[in-house]
């Protein structure tokens, strides 16, 4: 590497400066970690869960402290995965929490949208909406669409259906949720009810 004398001096200053700045900026963290950092799983509560990716049904354990997820890893008891989790499974905690780049702090994953949103016709932005308003508006849409497109009879057969509403989903939900979705949608007369079994 080549450095002019002046450049060398500048680099020296820069090196010293950055090194000092880094040392200072990380001082508080270094202080906090002083000596032995406490073990990650002190005073945690463990809850078992099942992986949300392929249908292997691998077991996982969530470690929780003060209502926050501290760790998630494979369940060593589980007869199928014996503690194992692939890259996706091993990263399930990141669906909720991620680590920031510079300060290595654990924060909620900003990629997740955690508020109800609405996008009005013709616009190009989401707007926040309260749960109550969202549910009210959606129920209104559902009722208006169903009532306007309800088929009570076809060739003398009672059919009680609407073809104007479709519902897609189920393979990401729990069984109990599937039943509620199925029951509500079918009871509205929905025929177009499908899930990722085929796509």
């Amino acid at each position: 590497m080549e450095l002019s004398r002046r450049g060398f001096l500048q680099a020296t200053g820069l090196a010293l400066g950055t090194s000092l700045a880094y040392e200072l900026s990380t001082q508080s963290q270094a202080f906090a970690l002083e000596g032995d950092a406490p073990f990650k799983l002190v005073n945690t509560e463990e809850y078992t869960n099942i992986c949300c990716y392929c249908s292997g049904g691998c077991g996982s354990i969530c470690s929780v402290r003060d209502g926050e997820l501290v760790n998630l890893e494979g369940d060593a008891d589980h007869p199928i995965n014996r503690g194992g989790l692939c890259s996706k499974g091993a990263t399930m905690s990141q669906l909720r929490n991620i680590v920031t780049e510079d300060t290595r702090e654990i924060v909620y994953n900003p990629n997740r949208m955690t508020k109800p949103m609405v996008r009005r016709p013709g616009t190009s932005q989401w707007e926040e909406i309260s749960w109550d308003d969202a549910l009210f508006e959606i129920a209104r849409h559902v009722k208006d669409t169903r009532d306007a497109n309800f088929i009570a009879e076809e060739n003398g057969v009672t059919v009680n259906r609407t073809e104007a509403i479709a519902s897609l989903g189920g393979s990401q939900q729990n069984n109990e949720e599937d039943y509620l979705i199925l029951k509500s949608m079918r009871s509205l007369g929905v025929i177009a009810l499908d899930n990722q079994a085929r796509v």
Binding site: A11, T12, A15, L16, L20, E34
Partner: protein, 228 residues
């Protein structure tokens, strides 16, 4: 009335003193890097502070003499001419008698010397070389671990140079302190030359640097008389 010779200017003394204090503190803080168990004795805040101090002191150690040299180029020239002066018969005799003298100052007597005596030329010269080495390797290590990548090979060489220079500094620095601060009996009062007013008494000057003392006493421009 006692006659004194002005041996070192204020600037020279400040430069020497600041640098040497930095050097001693660097050695101590460096020891905490060098000797692992020491590090383990202290809480991490303290070792952290020590690490920072080593870098700050390193800058002092390098910048102060450099700035001083830039301010007094003539002095630097003079200093180096002394260090690089030719060795005469007395110098050779001095070096031959050095060890016996150190172990028997009452019996062994040294020949007259010039402004920088031969022992100084050797030991302090090496101190200067070691200082420069440790400074340069230190700069490489600092840069190499922060803003640039020099590669493992060069860094290892720099580590080695830094450690070697440290060894030299340790050996010659201890000797320098032993003599310079006057722990060694014949060198009593020497401390003042660098850490005092920069004057040396006629008697001491004649004892340590006979040739130089006589030259100065004859010239007289650096001679001061002070009431006892």
């Amino acid at each position: 009335m006692t006659r004194y010779i002005k041996r070192h200017s204020l600037q020279a003394r400040i430069t020497h003193d600041v640098t040497i204090i930095a050097c001693i503190l660097l050695a101590i803080s460096g020891l905490f890097v060098f000797i692992t168990p020491l590090n383990n004795l202290l809480p991490s805040q303290v070792t952290f502070g020590i690490r920072m101090a080593h870098r700050v002191l390193g800058v002092v150690f390098i910048v102060v003499p450099l700035v001083s040299a830039l301010l007094a180029p003539k002095g630097v020239k003079h200093m180096f001419s002394n260090y690089l002066a030719k060795w005469d018969k007395d110098d050779v005799t001095f070096m031959k008698r050095f060890l016996p003298y150190m172990l028997g100052p009452k019996r062994v007597h040294m020949p007259d010397q010039h402004e920088v005596k031969s022992g100084q030329r050797l030991a302090d010269g090496l101190l200067l070389v070691a200082g420069a080495t440790i400074a340069i390797s230190g700069v490489f290590l600092l840069l190499g671990t922060t803003v640039v990548s020099f590669g493992a090979g060069l860094m290892l060489v720099m580590h080695l140079l830094h450690d070697l220079a440290f060894l030299m500094l340790a050996v010659f620095g201890l000797a320098h302190i032993f003599l310079g601060s006057g722990i060694f009996q014949p060198y009593r009062r020497m401390r003042r030359v660098m850490f005092g007013n920069g004057l040396i008494s006629e008697s001491d000057a004649l004892y340590h640097w006979g040739h130089w003392a006589r030259e100065e006493l004859e010239k007289g421009d650096k001679v001061v008389e002070i009431k006892d």
